[in-house]
């Protein structure tokens, strides 16, 4: 008997495949650092029992201090609810270094068959004076989503 196959939709966006080919998008130090959108995907054919799996890889550069960045996934758009977040820290040792942060997120029970997800980043902590730029997003930027049918019994 044939085995049921589960992947029903996949979408990805890859605005940059290598460091140095994105933006750069600057994260500016200050009391309320801005949340910057990096990428967006739309998944379709979603049913409530499906699993939605999102994966991301972002390359970024720290210029000084030891900045902490937070990546977020919002559902629906830049003002939609935050469904996932994770943090990473760069050790710059007083000079410029590059870092890569990669992560997965999954959810289920979605009521709409079409969902848009946006990947964003914001500065969480840095010892830089307001107005300085301790971090830039330089690439790569990869954001993907898979819609996975529920498992066979």
């Amino acid at each position: 008997m044939a085995r049921e196959r589960l992947l029903v939709y996949y979408a990805f966006t890859q605005p940059s495949s290598q460091p140095g080919t994105f933006g750069p998008v600057s994260l500016v130090a200050g009391p309320n650092p801005a949340e910057m959108q990096l990428a967006e995907i739309t998944l379709r054919r979603i049913r409530p029992h499906d699993r939605v799996e999102l994966a991301s890889t972002v390359g970024w550069r720290g210029f000084f201090g030891n900045p902490v960045v937070e990546f977020r996934i919002r559902r629906g758009g830049i003002n939609g609810p935050v469904v996932f977040s994770n943090r990473d820290t760069g050790a710059t040792d007083g000079t410029t270094f590059d870092f890569t942060t990669t992560f997965d997120h999954a959810e289920k029970g979605l009521s709409s068959s079409i969902q848009t997800y946006v990947l964003t980043v914001r500065l969480i902590q840095s010892l830089s004076p307001a107005g300085n730029v301790p971090v830039q997003i330089i690439g790569p930027v990869h954001f993907e989503g898979s819609v996975i049918d529920d498992n066979p019994r």
Partner: protein, 162 residues
């Protein structure tokens, strides 16, 4: 002719979706001579597996180093482990990551992948973590914590079409 599709089973466990939202899970340095405690974080159960399938596991964990001997002190190293067959099952994969605190903390995300074959029927995998090194931290102190997110998933992928 239609192309064969390969994903036949998928399961995920995501006890926490955010950085800093859960009560931190402490990784405490034991008394001298004692082994650190391996702490289970998540579990996936995969069914309908055949021996020629590829089982692909992916884990993402947010954690932080905690300066217990003063700011910028005690670098800490963690080992993330995947066991097959329960919390005391065979160790099939591990990955390490390290950091030193910036002032009092250092927040880090670690993600790693593992794939294996030759599995039949049903299988359970457990993601766990253990402190492996924290020079400069004393016994009974907590030089690292799991702060979230915690994501663990498994995919069963049919063998490729020939």
């Amino acid at each position: 002719m239609s192309r064969e599709r390969l994903l036949v089973y998928y399961d995920f466990d995501q006890p926490d979706s955010f950085s800093g939202s859960i009560t931190p899970i402490p990784l405490t340095l034991p008394a001298a001579g004692a082994l650190p405690t391996e702490i289970p974080l998540a579990t996936v159960n995969l069914n309908l597996v055949r021996p020629h399938d590829r089982v692909r596991l992916a884990a993402t964990v947010g954690w932080r180093v905690v300066a217990v001997s003063g700011p910028f002190s005690n670098e800490a190293e963690l080992e993330f482990r995947i066991r097959r067959g329960g919390t005391t099952g065979v160790l099939v994969s591990s990955a390490r990551d390290s950091g030193f605190p910036i002032e009092d903390f250092r927040e880090i995300t670690t993600k790693f992948l593992y794939t294996e074959g030759g599995i039949s029927h049903s299988v359970q995998y457990t993601l766990s973590v253990v402190l492996v090194n924290a020079p400069g931290a004393g016994p009974g102190t907590t030089p690292a914590q799991i702060i979230g997110p915690i994501h663990f998933e498994g995919s069963v992928i049919d063998d490729n079409s020939t």
